[in-house]
């Protein structure tokens, strides 16, 4: 790892310099809400944010995309080879990408995810946790890989960590913006990280997987009573990988596109099979399956989105507390 220092008043020049590495996607504030969008100029970007509603995952795994074109039964790939820069990704979202890598890059490799993540320069950014965050419990508070460059906000400068050759090329490319790191900078960096650590709730999640399996239907009924089967909790989750595939026909009825779109295990079609049988018919079964997938198989990064954006106020930490009673 290489350590550098970037003064805050240099951040705009740094932002302009990274455009040469690809299309820049960054957290943009639009009517009070943060979302990862293409950002041309620095004025649109807001680097002080707690969480974006839709995780940066959508830049690498678009919510809905055509994966194949077909004419009669002849199929052609539709692959995105655009170079991208993902600026302002928090620790938890970077670790979420590492979890997605374990799924999509494992043979048989998903080339759509592979081609995009390969061409994306990831620049991490320290976060401002609130009391919905529980990344301490899911061991996703701090990461030392999964990114090219990491900017830690230490007041009037960014403490910069460079982890990959590509990251190094970026810093070399705009050498004049960076300075050597001295003892004092390092202390400020550690102090900032300590403060960030205090702001996150502690919660231990040992034994959760078995507890989820041990609790019976009635337990899950209590927590799924308010659930509206709307799927929001999974659609905002950075580690959710489920997708649905469907075809669309064009005018000549012979050619068309095969689409892939985000799917949710909280919706009916997820467990539905051709002859009408549904393996997760009732809402409590779906909630239990979601908890099992996230906390049972340690595929949660504690970002709190599923609780913040649940319209009926179902709180994942409340369920964890009840599980451990």
């Amino acid at each position: 790892m290489k350590f550098l220092k970037l003064k805050k008043d240099q951040i705009e020049d740094f932002f302009d310099s990274i455009h040469s590495f690809g299309i820049v996607y960054a957290p943009v504030k639009s009517d009070g809400k943060i979302s990862f969008r293409r950002a041309q100029n620095f004025s649109d970007v807001s680097l002080e944010y707690t969480r974006s509603q839709i995780p940066p995952k959508h830049v690498i795994l678009p919510m809905e995309e055509p994966i194949l074109k077909f004419r009669e039964e002849e199929y052609f790939e539709v692959v995105d080879d655009e170079n991208k820069v993902l600026l302002g990704v928090h620790h938890c979202d970077i670790i979420a990408f590492k979890m997605l890598d374990e799924v999509y890059l494992q043979p048989p490799k998903d080339i759509y995810y592979h081609e995009r993540i390969k061409r994306t320069l990831i620049i991490g950014l320290s976060c401002i946790p609130d009391n919905y965050c529980f990344c301490k419990a899911t061991n996703s508070f701090y990461t030392s890989d999964g990114f090219d460059i990491f900017l830690h906000d230490c007041g009037d400068f960014y403490f910069v960590r460079v982890a990959t050759p590509r990251g190094l090329k970026v810093t070399e490319n705009s050498k004049n913006l960076f300075e050597k790191v001295d003892e004092k900078d390092m202390e400020l960096f550690v102090k900032a990280e300590k403060e960030r650590f205090e702001r996150v709730k502690g919660k231990n999640l040992w034994m959760i997987g078995d507890l989820i399996e041990l609790r019976d239907e009635n337990f899950w009924k209590i927590f799924s009573e308010r659930c509206l089967n709307c799927g929001n909790c999974t659609l905002v989750c950075p580690t959710c990988q489920c997708f649905e595939v469907y075809d669309e026909l064009e005018e000549d009825l012979k050619s068309g596109n095969r689409f892939r779109r985000w799917d949710s295990c909280m919706l009916r079609a997820h467990g539905l099979v051709a002859d009408g049988h549904n393996f997760r018919e009732r809402t409590e079964e779906r909630l239990r399956n979601r908890l099992s997938c996230k906390l049972g198989e340690m595929r949660c990064v504690g970002c709190g989105r599923c609780t913040v954006y649940c319209p009926t106020g179902i709180d994942i930490l409340e369920i964890v507390r009840a599980l451990k009673e």
Partner: protein, 250 residues
């Protein structure tokens, strides 16, 4: 041999027939592939032939319409109910049950001039093969369905709530602002048109059959400070023929 298509309508505002005419770019291409046997709003040629596909809009409110619908069913291989009127009874179904249409007519027209009954969807009287929801229907969905049908495939059915499309557009959830949005109960397909404009979903595409969580919804809306009576009134605008939401609660 070109499939014979009929586009017919009963009680309603003919908005769904108009939406088909609003497919300005694709309209002529579709009509080239089919033989338009009857399209009352757009063509004076009304032949009473056998149909391969009948798109029927509007709800049934009179005996004559019921007989006419049964005639259409007999002469059509595939019958598609298009629009909220045809699939759920339309806004006019708001008068169902509360005051029988005969009473209302006496009270307002001063006499019973023609036999009227509660506004019912087509599925109340005949077997409906496919359905296009919404008030009015979505142009894209009609286009998608007619292409699947012309190719001989079973059309794609959207079996998930409006919320999925709303989140795909990165909208802020209106329910979080304690306003009654029927999105989670309503069949998707409109691309969350109203929430994307900052407005509550009125459920014009009808309830997701057997999946919508009505009891939970009432609880949530009551916590948001809205009386069950008001919830029912809004719910009935487009789903009056759906079993009474308040009974569901008990």
């Amino acid at each position: 041999m070109k499939p014979k298509i009929g586009i017919l309508g009963f009680t309603g505002c003919a908005g769904c027939q108009l939406m088909i005419l609003n497919l300005e770019d694709e309209l002529l291409d579709i009509f080239k592939r089919i033989k338009l046997v009857s399209f009352q709003m757009a063509s004076s040629e009304m032949k009473d032939e056998k149909l391969d596909i009948a798109f029927v809009e509007g709800s049934i409110t009179t005996e004559e319409q019921k007989k006419e619908l049964e005639k259409i069913r007999k002469k059509s291989k595939i019958l598609v109910a298009i629009g909220n009127c045809a699939t759920l009874g339309g806004v006019q179904a708001l008068s169902n049950g509360i005051k029988s249409s005969r009473e209302m007519m006496k009270e307002v027209y001063g006499g019973e001039f023609w036999r009227l009954m509660d506004s019912k969807p087509l599925s109340e009287f005949v077997e409906v093969d496919f359905e296009l929801f919404g008030c009015p229907i979505e142009k894209q969905e009609f286009l998608e369905m007619i292409r699947f049908l012309l190719r001989g495939f079973i059309p794609l059915k959207r079996d998930y709530p409006v919320c999925l499309e709303c989140k795909l557009k990165d909208n802020e959830c209106i329910l979080l602002e304690k306003r009654i949005c029927l999105g989670p109960l309503t069949v998707a397909g409109c691309g969350a048109r109203c929430p994307s404009l900052g407005l509550e979903c009125l459920g014009c595409r009808g309830v997701i059959e057997g999946e919508a969580r009505l009891e939970s919804a009432i609880k949530i809306f009551e916590d948001a400070g809205v009386s069950a009576e008001d919830v029912k009134k809004i719910f009935r605008i487009f789903s009056a023929n759906y079993p009474d939401i308040l009974e569901v609660k008990s």
